[in-house]
Subunit: 259 residues, 4 copies
Amino acid sequence: MIDVQKRLDSRGIEIQRVGLKDVHFPFQIKMQQGTYQQVQGNVTIAANLPHHFKGTHLSRFMELLMVWSDKPISGREIKKLLAELCTNLEAAEAEMIMRFRYFLPVSAPISHQVGYLDYLSEFHGKFNLTNNSYEYYLGAEIPVASLCPCSKEIATFGAHNQRAIIRAKINCHPGKYLWLEELIGLLRSQGSCPIYPLLKREDEKFVTETAYQNPKFVEDILRDSVLALRSDPRITGFQVEVESFESIHNHSAFAAHQE
Amino acid sequence: MIDVQKRLDSRGIEIQRVGLKDVHFPFQIKMQQGTYQQVQGNVTIAANLPHHFKGTHLSRFMELLMVWSDKPISGREIKKLLAELCTNLEAAEAEMIMRFRYFLPVSAPISHQVGYLDYLSEFHGKFNLTNNSYEYYLGAEIPVASLCPCSKEIATFGAHNQRAIIRAKINCHPGKYLWLEELIGLLRSQGSCPIYPLLKREDEKFVTETAYQNPKFVEDILRDSVLALRSDPRITGFQVEVESFESIHNHSAFAAHQE
Amino acid sequence: MIDVQKRLDSRGIEIQRVGLKDVHFPFQIKMQQGTYQQVQGNVTIAANLPHHFKGTHLSRFMELLMVWSDKPISGREIKKLLAELCTNLEAAEAEMIMRFRYFLPVSAPISHQVGYLDYLSEFHGKFNLTNNSYEYYLGAEIPVASLCPCSKEIATFGAHNQRAIIRAKINCHPGKYLWLEELIGLLRSQGSCPIYPLLKREDEKFVTETAYQNPKFVEDILRDSVLALRSDPRITGFQVEVESFESIHNHSAFAAHQE
Amino acid sequence: MIDVQKRLDSRGIEIQRVGLKDVHFPFQIKMQQGTYQQVQGNVTIAANLPHHFKGTHLSRFMELLMVWSDKPISGREIKKLLAELCTNLEAAEAEMIMRFRYFLPVSAPISHQVGYLDYLSEFHGKFNLTNNSYEYYLGAEIPVASLCPCSKEIATFGAHNQRAIIRAKINCHPGKYLWLEELIGLLRSQGSCPIYPLLKREDEKFVTETAYQNPKFVEDILRDSVLALRSDPRITGFQVEVESFESIHNHSAFAAHQE
């Protein structure tokens, strides 16, 4: 059967990324404690396309994902997967982004009752076959509570507060990767108070008072997150954003930084 | 040219609604104050399809929308539009839903500085040609602040609060329609405190203290909204939901009711 | 500690549904073949609130979900969960909706290569403690390809086609529930051609030609879906919608029906 | 009243961007033909925060937006707005992104019937007060139809096709800005066939045959878009992505490039 994709192209344009997007796919993630979690990934996977080829063989991306559907996957495995992809497609570079919701058990602060808290997470790898280089990024969104210092200061009683999200994406020294649990652990206490899935009354008293005693602007949460990310020597760079879904407005306040 | 849609169908199934969905379309809305607002609607428009026709002529829906693109539209005009649609398509029933973001100027409580607050809104009409009957529904989503009575009571200081949304959809006595401004006006003060687009420090003090002095569960906001909706004799039925984006959790609390 | 929720309310309004919304939660689903699939549910769970209570104890909803987090869950288990909820909250009625992405292996038509196809699915139960009645609904969204009969007929060559989605929600005779696999199986061949996660060239030839030989309007897919749903005696009622993401427009065509 | 934001901060971190996000706001856009279009923007607006300030005065962002709510806004006006913002907040840099749906009348190819087609669009400006530099980006998403060359070649009849989107974001020589209409005009014919809001049967025949005679992979549409963007000397850089919502799969194919 004719292979249209392999035909020559004369426009002289090497395309940086060609591939699949919005692929829903089940994966196994190895957890820090040693067990595995089944997650439902939303995948973007791509390779560069040399200028002389008309098209990429897109079915091979899916074939490769299928090979990895039963094995635990993280930064190291994504490198292998992308190396195979490059060889398979005669491409010099390949990239993969997996976004998924990751569940961790979280205990209430006083009653210690346990619930599951979900964190939108991301594994992102870029591989270059020519120089065998690999960049790996780990991302997570951590919900926290933020309580406004200005509101607390000027009001005779009370202070407006709300849910906020710390979105962080880090890159690491090659091979010195953080667990998702570690990244989440660095950031989940940088708000005015952490968020919990299950709170009894004694817990609600605790989180209400904790937040009130710990007022923070999005700027404060951002700066404390920056300090936390700088404190881990394995992290070589990061971008971080804090978005606060203001309870007194219909829009968000945010702060963002990268280094 | 052959008209495939007009061919006979032998499956014997009259389809209740056939039409277009997710049509982005600009409309003019007449405001209560007498001026007009250009809105960007997301439209669903449909008619029933008698069992003997294979298909509907979908281009006619768009032609009809184009006729109305320059004229102010609301409940009465949607009735005319649907009557034309029924005649045009030889259909007995037709329905149209327009969802759009509606902007109203809102003054801060103390400084009186004005900003625009946006409300997701809905015009929804159902017309029956056979008995010339028409049902019309008006919907709006009103953001408010909610402050937890339990948290206030049990904490020594502070109380968790957050943005909440009151979603209401009403139907009215034929011809006795409420303005969107009236529906929003009935509900925007049912939370612990209204929400504002622009607040200076003196306003922030006011809204913080107002919310603290007016703690309400979603159940309370729901019940007060029910009382408000019952109080207008033009409203013959309604559904209302309050969703509170809990600042201490990663999920929402909600209450819903219809009558 | 004071129980604010248990306080008396004097507004005289019994609220139909109070509970949690947008709870992300991991569940086990029993598959038709006998194994289990870990899914990530988005949960709405609620109970009615008698008029004399000020509020519901929302933490109990989460406690109950935690009890069920390790056990396989489907229609029967949701009934038990809701019965416990009613007892626990002194409520007469309770309701739960779980939406999740369900993955099934699908073989390409000629090469038989296997990939995972994802279906947005829904378990929805309503329980009434007073008369011990239970209604259970099963929902699924099935992507298919649709090819336009009018376009094929009037064009000298080719025919516009596109992805479409069949959204169905059924209710069943008590205790005679369909597997998700059965509901998907009834509907996945009602388009112009099924959709596949992984297609080699010989498969692509097959699906292209199959769709071209099997042109269907959304109205046709809807009617064939209605016939398929009527054909299973366990199904006592259903609503079904077909939405086609038209390749020649920036909006969708749709048809919807319920009985 | 105390100004908490102005307090000194000792963490030594200058934050790159602090501001508002997800602000829905109505704007006037000047159209190429000389008239104005009211659009509903989703705005991100931010400035840097020097390391010695604890916080930004977020109300000033909204005050500034209000000043511009009645005047036509585009690249030049965003520069002025950002310059005012920098002065107002004692900030060195400021940035604003406005995303909105832009409607243009589009005539059917044969019948010439007119409908409105909507394009998700973006104005994005970055201003630096210190060196008075300004970068301006213009973005648009253009829906087109794509028809698969491989499918056409290997199938005896027909070819799978679908809606695709060309997402482009360009930057221009200072002061030599393109109209949105010009950017859209460069790209809307790079698919297998343009998309139309309103098509009569003679038009549908035309678009079906045009697409069939003009098969293009996402790679082809991407390369042709690159050539189109390179052809305008006012464009100094761009990023462009083509996403095709494959009719035979439940995921997208895509190609992306920037230079």
